[in-house]
């Protein structure tokens, strides 16, 4: 369509810049306003504390009718995130609602780092480790 970016995306971007969330930074790509460079810092008290994780977030043409596509660019040892950085998070899949937004998605990902869900794994080996030997898993997470 000839008309540019939907107002919703413009507003969301503005709000992300004006009122950033602690530990989350999302900057749109210079050449593609639907593509965001995201940096999430590991939440306090989690094995990922002080870790800095790069992610990419892409808003598909159907957004907000379909969920943004988010992927970890930094390798992370987490039961719900696989080697390619793909994230297993319900709101990115069937629990997506168009009333959610970039901000809420990134907050959920941050929360996922604090509270992994080994019962719904994407990386089976990591989930196994989490379930059988959490301490070791947490150690590995720190690396």
């Amino acid at each position: 369509m000839a008309a540019g970016l939907p107002r919703r995306i413009i507003k969301e971007t503005q709000r992300l810049m004006q009122e950033p969330v602690t530990g989350i930074q999302a900057i749109p790509d210079e050449s593609n306003a639907r593509y965001f460079h995201v940096v999430v810092t590991g939440p306090e008290g989690s094995p990922y504390e002080e870790g800095v994780f790069k992610l990419e977030l892409f808003l598909p043409e159907e957004y907000p009718m379909s969920a943004p596509k988010v992927r970890f660019m930094t390798k992370i040892y987490h039961p719900n995130i696989d080697k390619l950085g793909r994230i297993c998070l319900d709101i990115l899949k069937d629990k997506w609602s168009p009333a959610l937004q970039i901000r809420t998605v990134l907050l959920s990902i941050q929360a996922l780092l604090s509270a992994p869900n080994p019962d719904d794994p994407l990386a089976n080996d990591v989930a196994e480790q989490w379930k059988t030997n959490e301490a070791k898993a947490i150690d590995t997470g720190y690396l």
């Binding site: 369509m1 919703r8 168009p98």
Partner: protein, 676 residues
């Protein structure tokens, strides 16, 4: 005789009934039954003077009950009754008001027609009908509609004193219920300090005062209600009651009739009306100073005196007696006009007078900085709400935004409650209150948002009109000119596409066939489909009846809202050069095809008929126009051809060539058939 009169009365032949009663009175004397019957006839005939005389006579010859005046009451009510006051024009002024209690909304519930009322008012209202637009609701379960989140929040935020007053009012009402009237009055008075123009407080206090026989004060409060809301029928009722209690029956009758003129369904008002009329009609006791005075003045015969006492003189004020029904009419007309003017906002007092009403509540807003545009943004598109619709779970979205969500999932995007029922009702009603708030408080943004919407529609409407505007593409199957193409639409993006086609009024889109696994890969050629009819299923799917239109070549591809679009060049045939030859081939082939069709087994024919319709008629002159004949496209649609061949044929710009291709296909099929 009496039976005959009653029969005539019940078959509405009042003249005849009156005649019979009059004859009976002459023959058998003035029995109460006859007099009452006669009076009822006069009342029904609108001859109120004669009716009053007859009633008062009846009253003198026997006991009379206020209930005996029911025909008089109903006739009077019919005389003054007005058409429903509220019309769509007045909707514009409804901002935060409930149209039942005419007060600021409390616990607001938006019903499917888009009008909003206090929950309690809706529960109490037994009419099963929207008081605003008249929509009938036989099965509306109010407990299943949640309160409007946006309206509740806005009222709490903008008018905080209102919610405080509501709390106090609740306590006051409790006190009233338990007959602690003094306490109730004190609480109502306290609440009035917070919201001096809440007429319900004045009304309740008036009622409480009357229970304590403080009727003068009750009347003062009632008159205050009428100043605040001259459009509220119950205000006149309160005045009528207070006057009744003060023994001013004539004035009371007038006030009660004013009430009934605005809402003829208030039964308690009718009860009071008959009681008041009864008191008027009852003969004055001899020790009544008025009676004595009259007697002294005129010294008439006893009967004459009583009649005079009751009717001809000063006691019954000209407001109620007969030739005064006309004057009564003027009073009623005034009442209705002032109510109408009030609702239309013409007659509003200046906001500088704090104790007087302000029509729109805008002036009441103490702190204008509380008005925040963001509160009225759609949580889906982040723009100012446009065509706001309310879900049963109490959330508000732009209608097009919610429709898009429902294409994907039948649940509320905010609270995830199921909206299957909402979707099945296909309700389209805009929530008037919210639309009015937006228009009143954000007029500039509202105009801008409206023009945005119009631009969007315009954008959709111009698709395919010029090279700038892409046409939407449905990637599914091949369509042919003139051939019908029924489609079952279930994919969210195509639901949206069909809706947009319909809303914009273009009612057409391009049909292409898939050409690879990628979504954006579709054939280079296609055919326009025009929508003839859409039938919706309760779950949002639809059956779309289309017919093929112009053919096109895709010259550029794009996407919009998740579906494919294309820039196209329309194709049409070159003019036929060797007309005779083409006509010959065409007529010959038509007969071949017709024969083939007629020889097809019944089952196959039925299937084809269902999808593509009847075998088209033979050539006409238009068959040599831009697309050739209808029948050859129909044959091409029926024949089991590879899509590459079909596309090649669609691309041909010569009717003659397509006929040749068809002939080759038919020959090939015949050979295949013969060799079996």
């Amino acid at each position: 005789m009496v039976d005959l009169a009653k029969q005539a009365f019940s078959s509405k032949n009042f003249d005849l009934a009156a005649e019979i009663y009059e004859r009976s009175i002459r023959e058998y004397g003035p029995k109460p039954e006859f007099l009452l019957g006669l009076a009822d006839c006069f009342a029904k005939l609108g001859q109120f003077e004669r009716a009053f005389t007859a009633y008062s006579k009846a009253c003198r010859v026997g006991p009379m009950n206020p209930k005996d005046l029911k025909h008089l009451v109903s006739s009077l009510v019919n005389t003054v009754k007005q058409d429903p006051l509220i019309n769509s024009e007045m909707n514009k002024n409804v901002v935060f008001d409930c149209l039942i209690c005419r007060n600021m909304l409390y616990d607001p519930v938006t019903i499917p027609c888009g009008h909003t009322f206090c929950r309690q008012c809706l529960v109490k209202d037994a009419s099963k009908q929207c008081k605003n637009c008249g929509t009938k609701y036989l099965y509306l379960n109010i407990s299943r509609i949640k309160s409007s989140v946006l309206l509740s929040q806005t009222i709490d935020k903008w008018f905080p004193e209102h919610s405080k007053a509501v709390e106090i009012k609740k306590m006051a009402n409790d006190a009233f219920q338990t007959c602690r009237f003094e306490e109730a009055i004190r609480l109502y008075t306290g609440a009035m300090e917070l919201v001096p123009n809440d007429h319900l407080l004045w009304s309740n206090r008036s009622f409480a005062l009357s229970r304590l026989d403080r009727n003068e004060e009750a009347l003062e409060d009632a008159d205050m209600i009428l100043q605040l809301r001259p459009d509220w029928p119950k205000g006149y009722f309160r005045r009528g009651c207070a006057l009744y209690n003060l023994g001013q029956y004539e004035e009371s009758v007038v006030a009660l009739l004013q009430c009934l003129a605005l809402d003829s369904s208030i039964e308690t008002a009718k009860d009071y009306l008959s009681k008041a009329l009864h008191n008027i009609i009852l003969p004055l006791s001899p020790d009544n100073p008025k009676a004595t005075e009259l007697q002294r003045e005129l010294n008439p015969s006893l009967l004459d005196q009583l009649i005079r006492t009751n009717f001809d003189c000063t006691v019954l004020l000209p407001k109620v007696t007969v030739d005064t029904v006309k004057r009564l009419k003027d009073i009623i007309t005034d009442t209705v006009n002032s109510a109408t003017n009030f609702l239309e906002g013409k007659d509003h007092h200046q906001p500088s007078q704090p104790n007087l009403p302000q029509g729109t509540r805008k002036a009441l807003l103490k702190d204008p900085s509380l008005v925040c545009r963001e509160d009225f943004e759609c949580s889906l598109c982040y723009r100012l709400l446009h065509l706001p619709v309310s879900t049963p779970c109490g959330h508000v979205f732009c209608r097009p935004c919610l429709d898009k969500c429902l294409d994907h999932k039948t649940e509320c995007p905010l609270c995830k409650s199921c909206l299957a029922e909402y979707l099945a009702e296909r309700r389209q009603s805009v929530t008037i209150a919210i639309e009015n708030i937006i228009e009143a408080y954000f007029p500039e943004d509202c105009i801008e948002r409206m023009s945005q919407h119009e631009e969007e529609i315009q954008e959709l409407a111009s698709m395919g009109l010029d090279s700038e505007h892409d046409i939407p593409i449905f990637v599914c199957t091949l369509a042919y000119p003139y051939v019908s193409c029924p489609l079952h639409i279930f994919e969210p993006r195509y639901r949206l596409m069909v809706r947009q086609c319909m809303e914009s009024g273009r009612r057409q889109f391009g049909m292409c066939v898939a050409n690879g696994d990628e979504e954006s890969q579709f054939s280079e050629y296609g055919c326009m489909l025009e929508i003839r009819d859409v039938q919706f299923f309760p779950d949002g799917r639809s059956l779309v009846d289309c017919v093929g239109g112009k053919r096109f070549k895709v010259i550029g591809k794009g996407q919009r809202d998740g579906y494919n679009t294309a820039k196209v060049e329309f194709i049409s045939d070159h003019p036929v050069a060797d007309m005779e030859e083409v006509r010959g081939t065409s007529e010959r082939l038509y007969l071949v095809c017709r024969k083939w069709w007629e020889e097809l087994p019944q089952v196959q024919r039925a299937q084809i008929l269902q999808h593509l319709g009847e075998f088209p008629g033979p050539e006409t002159e238009s068959s040599y126009g831009p697309n050739g004949s209808a029948w050859h496209w129909w044959m091409l649609a029926v024949l089991p051809l590879d899509s590459r061949i079909q596309l090649a044929i669609i691309a041909m710009t010569s009717y003659k060539e397509r006929l040749r291709a068809l002939e080759r296909v038919l020959g090939f099929l015949k050979n295949k058939h013969d060799s079996r």
